[in-house]
């Protein structure tokens, strides 16, 4: 088929992709050089790099950056560990395995806002089930949603519950590509289960681990739904994420110029982290290739 006809078939989809992904980022670049807020009567007024200076000096931005990074690091690493464990379990020949797979995927399929509301009730102090259990055990109640030192961990827990199944499914797909005779050969050589996990499973699973980390990291750095419904960013702003701060700037403070700057700032952090992760992986795999 002629080349131009292929491009014609792709044109509508590519146009929508450009309009939804590329145009907004371009628009933010322009908007971040404007003041557009209540003070300017919601009209854009060019102000050069002032929004970026404001971002640099904004303590709340840096605090939210730290909180978003803390949340992402904790939840992504937990999800990878638990996801690997679940994937290994679901890979074994068990009876009722496909039903078990479906059930374990349910948390992922539910809307985040729905279960965030559910988790608010589960973490309730003192009537939620966890605190009732603690009371039965004779332990004190945990102020999950009102103590700034604990609440972010509650958010990590709720996020881990929801996204572990997704990670597990990705890794399960990877496990299914590893030929089983590798394990049989290793077993003949007298390898323990731990050794074959370490020497066969993990190396061959690396591409899938990388995809899962990159995808989850990008999503976690943009965390919004869960935080907004579970904690609203509180207590005392201790769980506010970058996306929530940008949202508040636009929708509550009606400061669109600064909101665009914050969104671009978050995007830059995301690019930096995911890019670094991908580069580190490429270098380390090249290094390993040379050592062999």
């Amino acid at each position: 088929m002629r080349r131009w006809r292929l491009w014609l078939l792709m044109a509508p989809a590519l146009a929508l992709l450009l309009a939804i992904f590329a145009a907004p980022l371009m628009h933010y670049l322009w908007l971040s050089t404007q003041a557009q807020s209540v003070l300017t009567g919601l009209k854009p007024v060019p102000i050069g790099a002032q929004q970026w200076l404001r971002l640099w000096n904004d303590g709340r931005f840096w605090q939210d950056t730290w909180q978003t990074l803390r949340f992402s690091a904790a939840s992504v690493s937990l999800e990878m560990l638990l996801g690997l464990a679940v994937a290994l379990l679901l890979h074994q020949p068990l009876c009722g395995r496909s039903l078990l797979r479906t059930i374990s995927l349910l948390p992922w399929a539910l809307p985040t806002t729905v279960m965030a509301l559910g988790w608010r009730w589960i973490f309730n102090d003192p009537y939620g089930p966890i605190n009732q259990l603690l009371a039965v055990l004779g332990l004190g109640a945990m102020p999950f949603l009102s103590n700034p030192n604990i609440t972010w961990l509650a958010a990590v827990g709720a996020d881990t519950w929801k996204t572990t199944p997704f990670v597990a499914l990705l890794l399960l797909a990877g496990l299914q590509t590893i030929p089983s005779d590798l394990y049989e050969a290793a077993a003949l050589e007298g390898a323990t289960a731990w050794q074959s996990l370490r020497r066969i499973t993990l190396p061959l699973l690396t591409p899938y681990l990388l995809i899962a980390v990159l995808f989850r990291l990008a999503q976690a750095l943009g965390v919004f739904d869960l935080i907004q419904v579970l904690t609203g960013g509180g207590p005392a702003g201790s769980t506010e994420s970058l996306a929530l701060y940008a949202y508040l700037n636009a929708m509550r403070f009606l400061d669109f110029g600064y909101s665009a700057t914050l969104l671009l700032g978050s995007f830059a952090i995301l690019l930096l982290l995911c890019g670094t992760a991908a580069l580190v992986w490429r270098w380390s795999s090249r290094l390993q290739g040379e050592l062999r």
């Binding site: 729905v114 559910g118 499914l169 990159l214 996306a243």
Partner: protein, 263 residues
């Protein structure tokens, strides 16, 4: 043992919601034991707007987004799978990057789009951003499926004198049915669950989809306790999805895993 733990971990929080939704509020807050009640569900169904309207809105948005996404993604994926390797690889990399992009970062620009084009508070218009956000995943899935179809099959049809449309309709689409079904289901799941854009595009309460409606029920205070009503809303809001998952488990799981392998 490990299996029981996994079941408990996955189902426990949901079962707790089911249990709470059937208990009177006094029993939930430790005052009196109380029996079982359907009161929370009755309230929810009679609330204004009724919860069923919200669910129906989500179905409308989900169905239109799925249709639009597939209508755009199928031809695009076909062309991408027939394009030269170098160009296809570069495009695929861009599409994969878009698939991982957190949609919430786009909300402000999309909000201005809605304002400039008068798309706010229109359910069907929501399928525009939703299709845009779902296209990357759908394109990846469908391109991989098209690439699996042997090219000889199409060449034979070409020799028979079939045009592009005929080849698509009679040869390719029937073979693509499983991949189209799983991408469609994933798009539907996405639109059912999407929050930030629905939150900023819809303000009329009778037009809200499920996710923003749940957030509105949640209100702003962490400390109030109409938890029976919350729990009933959680149960009713998840029930359709759980049903969908159980009915189409194979398609959804294969869609997700294919996305991972080929993407």
């Amino acid at each position: 043992m490990a299996r029981m733990l996994l079941l408990l971990w996955s189902l426990g929080p949901m079962l707790w919601q089911l249990y709470s939704s059937l208990r009177p509020n006094e029993a939930l807050s430790g005052m009196g034991t109380g029996g079982w009640t359907l009161e929370h569900y009755r309230q929810l169904l009679q609330s204004d707007p009724p919860f069923l309207t919200t669910l129906l809105n989500s179905v409308v948005v989900g169905a239109s987004s799925t249709a639009l996404t597939l209508a755009l993604a199928v031809p695009c994926a076909y062309a991408l799978s027939r394009l030269g390797r170098r160009q296809a690889r570069a495009l695929t990399a861009l599409v994969a990057a878009a698939a991982a992009f957190p949609a919430v970062l786009l909300f402000l620009a999309l909000l201005e789009l809605a304002r400039d084009w008068h798309l706010a508070n229109q359910l069907l218009a929501l399928s525009l951003p939703y299709a845009g956000l779902c296209l990357p995943l759908a394109i990846l899935l469908l391109t991989a499926a098209f690439a699996d179809i042997p090219i000889e099959l199409e060449e034979a049809a070409l020799i028979e004198g079939m045009g592009l449309w005929q080849r698509l309709r009679w040869i390719l689409l029937p073979l693509m049915a499983p991949a189209i079904a799983s991408s469609g289901l994933l798009v539907f799941l996405f639109s059912w669950n999407e929050y930030p854009i629905a939150l900023t595009w819809l303000s009329r309460s009778d037009l809200l989809t499920l996710a923003p409606a749940m957030a509105r029920i949640a209100g702003s205070s962490v400390y109030t306790i109409p938890y029976g009503a919350f729990a009933a809303a959680t149960v009713l809001g998840s029930a359709p999805l759980i049903l969908l998952m159980l009915l189409f488990q194979r398609q959804i799981i294969s869609g997700l895993t294919q996305g991972a392998i080929k993407g």
